[in-house]
């Protein structure tokens, strides 16, 4: 990000930026930057908190009126609900949906796939409700069932045709994984009377309590056994977060 600012400023475009990783910005020294202490993926702070987002924007834009630089300003104000700023505080959220589980007389992978299929089926009405309410989804290419089919078929027998995407198969796998996780979040976030899980609670749920998390780890392992470099890279880095590997 800082390098982009440097290149643009060299081409006579004034820049200002938000910084999420202070160490990187301090090394690159772009012209103007506001370091914020927010989670990766949330450079403006807290979803739905327009006042906080506005304050971040105003502070970042005001750097354009400074007389000289490079400038790296630190965000120093409290933000968000109490507890959000302490990464060690465990978030409390429990998914209210109890999934049905398949019978025991199947192989481990078959049981996993059957369990994941049940999850997708049981979450679908909540996802549909959320989409109807908000009119917006982060699902990009793969409808939930298509994402599930691609991931589960690959886990069983390797590369298969990806009807929703005609690019490289490794990219199709990644997009399917991203889309099905987006589907899971939007489904649980849309249930009536509850609030969406925070990111830590959602990750804990996906990776430790759902069959999807286990299926994605199985897909990762299969990718790592491939000779195709793109699939190996996808398995190594792009399906399961480093913190969950």
């Amino acid at each position: 990000m800082g390098a982009l600012a440097h290149y643009l400023e060299t081409e006579r475009v004034a820049t200002t930026q938000i910084s999420l990783i202070r160490e990187h910005t301090a090394t690159i020294q772009p012209p103007r930057a506001l370091w914020v202490p927010f989670e990766l993926g949330r450079p403006l702070g807290v979803p739905g908190d327009a006042a906080l987002q506005r304050k971040v924007l105003v502070k970042t834009l005001e750097l354009l009126e400074a007389p000289a630089g490079p400038l790296l300003l630190d965000w120093s104000e409290p933000y968000g609900p109490a507890g959000d700023q302490d990464a060690s505080t465990p978030s409390v959220w429990a998914c209210p949906i109890t999934f049905s589980r398949p019978p025991e007389d199947q192989s481990e992978l078959d049981r996993l796939i059957a369990a994941c299929r049940s999850e997708v089926t049981e979450l679908r009405p909540w996802y549909d409700l959320g989409l109807k309410t908000s009119g917006r989804t982060a699902v990009v290419r793969f409808e939930p069932e298509a994402a599930f089919d691609l991931l589960s078929q690959y886990a069983v027998k390797g590369e298969v045709a990806a009807e929703s995407y005609d690019g490289p198969f490794a990219v199709a796998l990644r997009l399917a994984a991203q889309d099905i996780k987006a589907f899971y979040f939007e489904a649980v976030a849309s249930r009536p009377g509850g609030s969406p899980p925070d990111s830590a609670a959602f990750n804990r749920w996906i990776w430790h309590e759902t069959a999807l998390g286990q299926l994605l780890k199985a897909v990762k392992e299969r990718c790592l056994s491939e000779t195709d470099e793109a699939l190996r890279q996808t398995g190594a880095l792009l399906l399961v977060p480093l913190e969950q590997a």
Binding site: A3, R12, L40, G69, Q85, A189
Partner: protein, 153 residues
């Protein structure tokens, strides 16, 4: 919280080893008062229009996002699985603060919002983005942009 010293070791090591160039010079461009500036958003979140090409790799390419885009038409295909996406799912402004910029125009805090915004795939080696960035500068000048607001992910 995005502090390297507070992250799990696997994540800290990953981020600490991302390419991080240094530059001998420090360019600095002056401009008009904020109330007269035209602002473009430049994201590295791998954002694009719903029908546009997904990001497939680390080639330094970017996507054009029309200034009149609405939240439902903006999606993300960033490669990394190591940052939160649920904030963006709930409120696009947490990553692409176009509504907030539009409000700042109505308040007179900034002059206008650009006709086009742009998104790269973050984590790309900056050297691979240099030529795209220099081309992008020409597009920004053409749109009379005098403030590029860069937003990481």
């Amino acid at each position: 919280m995005a502090r390297l010293d507070q992250m799990a070791e696997s994540m800290r090591a990953h981020l600490a080893h991302l390419p991080c160039p240094t530059f001998a010079d420090h360019p600095w461009v002056e401009g008009p008062p904020l109330s007269q500036r035209r602002v473009a958003l430049i994201s590295t979140a791998g954002l694009h229009r719903r029908g546009d090409r997904p990001f497939e790799g680390l080639s330094g390419d970017y996507r054009v996002i029309p200034g009149d885009i609405e939240a439902g038409d903006l999606v993300m295909t960033h490669l990394s699985t190591n940052f939160d996406r649920t904030g963006f799912q709930q409120d696009w402004n947490v990553m692409f603060p176009l509504d907030r910029l539009r409000e700042l125009v109505r308040e007179g805090f900034i002059g206008s919002v650009a006709a086009y915004h742009y998104s790269f795939m973050g984590a790309t080696d900056p050297a691979a983005m240099e030529s795209s960035a220099r081309n992008l500068a020409g597009l920004l000048h053409g749109d009379r942009v005098d403030a590029a607001l860069l937003v990481p992910v």
